[in-house]
Structure formats: structure tokens, C-alpha cells
């Protein structure tokens, strides 16, 4: 039997609190008449409570996965936790998650810090652990509580993002195909395109950290809050994603018609449709699941994959290309066989 890493099951968890467009327009009435905003393709997002942590969302997603699919906890021999908001400076949050989920003490546990590209990177680590190290079942958890970091008057970020977590079981199935080739990319010179500038080791919180700043469109932020430079990220995406797809097809020795479905990081519907038009991907092969979730950072791809399977947009034996890109700047792509 071959050693082959494959995604076996997925589940996800969204916080119960909804933040609808109606509530958004109550805060930003000046945006209400902007009919172009509908191109973003969102109606509501889920938002965490102040005392709810990324690890809490991840544990709930994992419990759902374990219960929905009757997974034996003792069979999990590695847990990976991808987030940008961890419980403590130290220890590693994945260690606490091992205990909270009652996973065996023989289980490895590792945090890694990545944003929108995190899920695909996580799959590459899981594949390496299974196919090179001999691990059998990897629990890959992705979670984001990014909305906690927004300036209350940041009208761009508050529109496009939501919170959530996903749990994915990657196992050695021994099948002919599973998780395929990867391409990776990094451009750290773009580190300040998506950033929370103050509060980490580089810049401590100071008197100027909370001073309000405005961009060219009057959008508000401060150095202790999340900042995304929208037009720079748009350009990064249109330059990077089409190139990455072509590289991945070539590396995988695949033709476009051998991909049954494309699932991109669900940044927002407008960016996705722009990329789709550039790449001329037909609608039936392009999956968008954004309207009621928003951009949940590292969890958008597993959430969309879960929904695509539920909606039977893809079925057993078919091949899906996963394409992730964002903060870092960082990007990665892979193909998976369902």
C-alpha cells in the first residue's frame, strides 16, 4: 500500500453573533447609497465575543469534526494550529488544544503563524508528516478572530472580514492520489501591506499608537489596529495568482481541463471574480462561498471546500485546485483529489 496523505473530513465553526449589512450601514450611513459595494458580495459575517479566542473557535470546530464523523480521538497523532492570535506569549497554543480535545499524549502539537495562505501551508506540513515522517492522522486547525483588531471606524475591514475556524482531518489513506504538488511564494518586502504595526516585539504600544489616521479615501485606522492597503493587495493578487496557477499546473503535469473545481482563498467576491475573469475560468469550475461568512482568513478554503462537497459541486475522485494568498505577503497552491 502506498503512503498517501489525503483530506478525509472537514468541519467548521462560526461564532453565533451576526453582523449584518443593515447593522454595518447604521454605523457607516455614508456607504449605504454606494451600489458598487454589492460587488463585494457579502450580506453578513459572524463576529466573536470579546472573551472568545481563536483557540476556542478551533476547539469547537474540532469537536464538530470529531462528533460529526465519529473520529477516534486516540487515532490523532498530530495537531497543527494555524492562527495569528494565540492564547499566550508562551506556551504554544496547540499544546493546550491537545489537552482540551483529550488527544493522546503521544500526539505532536505545533502552532504556525500565517494568515490567508495558512491552510495550504498546513496541508503541506501535514503531507510531509504523513508521507515522510510516518504520522497517520493530522488534525489541521485554522482559526481567526481578526475582527477584534479592527479600528471601530475601519469601514473596509469591517465590511469584508468575518471570524471563524475550520478543522480538517488529513490521513494516510494509501490511495493512488491525495494531496498533490505544491507551489509556495513569499514577498516579505510587502510586509506592511497588511499589518498591525504596534504591539508586537518590533514596535511597542506608545502614545502615538492609538492616534487616528486616514487613507486617501477617508478610511480610518491607527497603528495599534489592523490595516490592509486594499489597492496594493488587489495588485499583488492579480499579479501573483494567475502566475501561481500556471506554475502549479506545470509542476503537477496537469492541463486546465483536468481541474474539476477551483477554490481560491475567499478574500471577497469582487477580487475572486476579477481573478476568474483574468484566468477565464468557467463559472461551473469556480466556487465562491462568501456571502454569509465573509473573509475568515486561513479558514476560507476549508469552509468553502466543506460547502462545495455538501452542494455536490465536487465529488469523490475529482480534483480541486486550492489557491491561497495574502498577508506576509505569502502565497501557496496545491491540488487535492477528493
Amino acid at each position: 500500500m502506498k503512503t498517501r496523505a489525503q483530506i478525509v473530513k472537514t468541519s467548521y465553526y462560526l461564532p453565533s453573533k451576526r453582523f449584518t449589512n443593515e447593522e454595518y450601514f447604521d454605523i457607516f450611513p455614508e456607504s449605504k447609497g454606494d451600489s458598487n459595494l454589492s460587488k463585494i458580495g457579502i450580506k453578513e459575517r459572524r463576529i466573536v465575543e470579546e472573551d472568545e479566542l481563536a483557540s476556542d473557535l478551533a476547539v469547537k470546530a474540532a469537536e464538530k469534526l470529531i462528533n460529526e464523523h465519529a473520529i477516534d480521538r486516540s487515532s490523532i497523532d498530530f495537531v497543527l494550529f494555524c492562527a495569528q492570535e494565540f492564547d499566550y506569549y508562551t506556551p504554544t497554543t496547540a499544546c493546550l488544544i491537545q489537552d482540551r480535545l483529550n488527544l493522546p499524549k503521544e500526539c505532536g502539537a505545533l502552532d504556525f503563524n500565517l494568515g490567508c495562505s495558512g491552510f495550504v501551508y498546513g496541508l503541506s506540513i501535514a503531507k510531509g508528516l504523513i508521507e515522510s515522517v510516518g504520522v497517520k492522522n493530522v488534525l489541521l486547525l485554522t482559526a481567526s478572530t481578526l475582527t477584534k483588531t479592527f479600528h471601530p471606524k475601519d469601514k473596509s475591514s469591517r465590511f469584508v472580514f468575518g471570524d471563524g475556524a475550520a478543522a480538517t482531518l488529513v490521513s494516510n489513506t494509501g490511495n493512488e492520489e491525495g494531496i498533490g504538488q505544491f507551489v509556495f511564494g513569499t514577498d516579505g518586502s510587502g510586509y506592511d501591506k497588511i499589518i498591525i504595526k504596534d504591539g508586537g516585539a518590533r514596535n511597542k504600544i506608545s502614545d502615538t499608537s492609538s492616534v487616528d489616521k486616514y487613507d486617501d479615501f477617508g478610511n480610518q485606522h491607527s497603528d495599534d489596529k489592523f490595516l490592509m492597503k486594499g489597492s496594493a493587495i488587489f495588485n499583488f493578487s492579480v499579479r501573483t495568482v494567475p502566475k501561481m496557477i500556471l506554475e502549479l499546473l506545470e509542476k503537477s503535469n496537469l492541463k486546465e481541463d483536468e481541474i474539476d473545481l477551483y477554490i481560491f482563498h475567499q478574500a471577497n467576491q469582487f477580487l475572486l471574480q476579477t481573478l476568474q475573469r483574468i484566468m477565464e475560468i468557467p463559472d461551473e469550475k469556480f466556487y465562491i462561498h462568501y456571502e454569509l461568512v465573509g473573509n475568515t482568513v486561513s479558514s476560507t478554503i476549508p469552509i468553502a471546500l466543506n460547502q462545495a462537497l455538501k452542494e455536490k459541486r465536487v465529488s469523490k475522485g475529482q480534483r480541486v485546485m486550492l489557491v491561497a494568498f495574502g498577508v506576509g505577503l505569502s502565497w501557496s497552491g496545491t491540488t487535492i483529489t477528493i
Partner: protein, 76 residues
């Protein structure tokens, strides 16, 4: 590449912008719909139709539709 077609392409993409609103010498920021979203829609139209990627700086350096058109034309 022709300016009337360029204008038509912008007007087609921006919701609520009636045909004939923009003229070559219109300052494209000086209309009601102008917002960060509007800027992204123009950038997207230009990359899809003309395969030119504009930066925020490129946009800042142009004011009228004609200036934007000439800039894109020089990059095609």
C-alpha cells in the same frame, strides 16, 4: 485602443453610472460614486481588458479620464 471604448468600459462596470456621464476631460474622481471601491473597479477593468496593472500611485498621478487612458495606452 480608443478613448470612447475606454469610457464605455468604465461606465459598464460602475453601478449607477449612466452612459454619457464621463467625457474625456471629466475628472473621474469628481463624480458621486467615487470611493475606494470605484478605484478598485477601474483597476480591475483595466487589468482584465488591457492587461495593465495600475498602482494606487498611478491613479493618483492622473486626474481626467483622458490622462488615465493615455497612461494605460502607454503601458499596453
Amino acid at each position: 485602443m480608443e478613448i470612447n471604448e475606454f469610457i464605455q468600459n468604465i461606465e459598464n462596470e460602475i453601478a449607477g453610472l449612466e452612459s454619457g456621464t464621463l467625457a474625456p476631460d471629466t475628472d473621474y474622481r469628481d463624480i458621486d460614486q467615487w470611493s475606494s471601491m470605484y478605484a478598485l473597479i477601474i483597476m480591475a477593468m483595466i487589468v482584465i481588458k488591457y492587461k495593465v496593472t495600475l498602482t494606487g500611485e498611478d491613479l493618483k498621478n492622473t486626474n481626467t479620464v483622458r490622462e488615465l487612458f493615455e497612461y494605460v495606452k502607454s503601458k499596453v
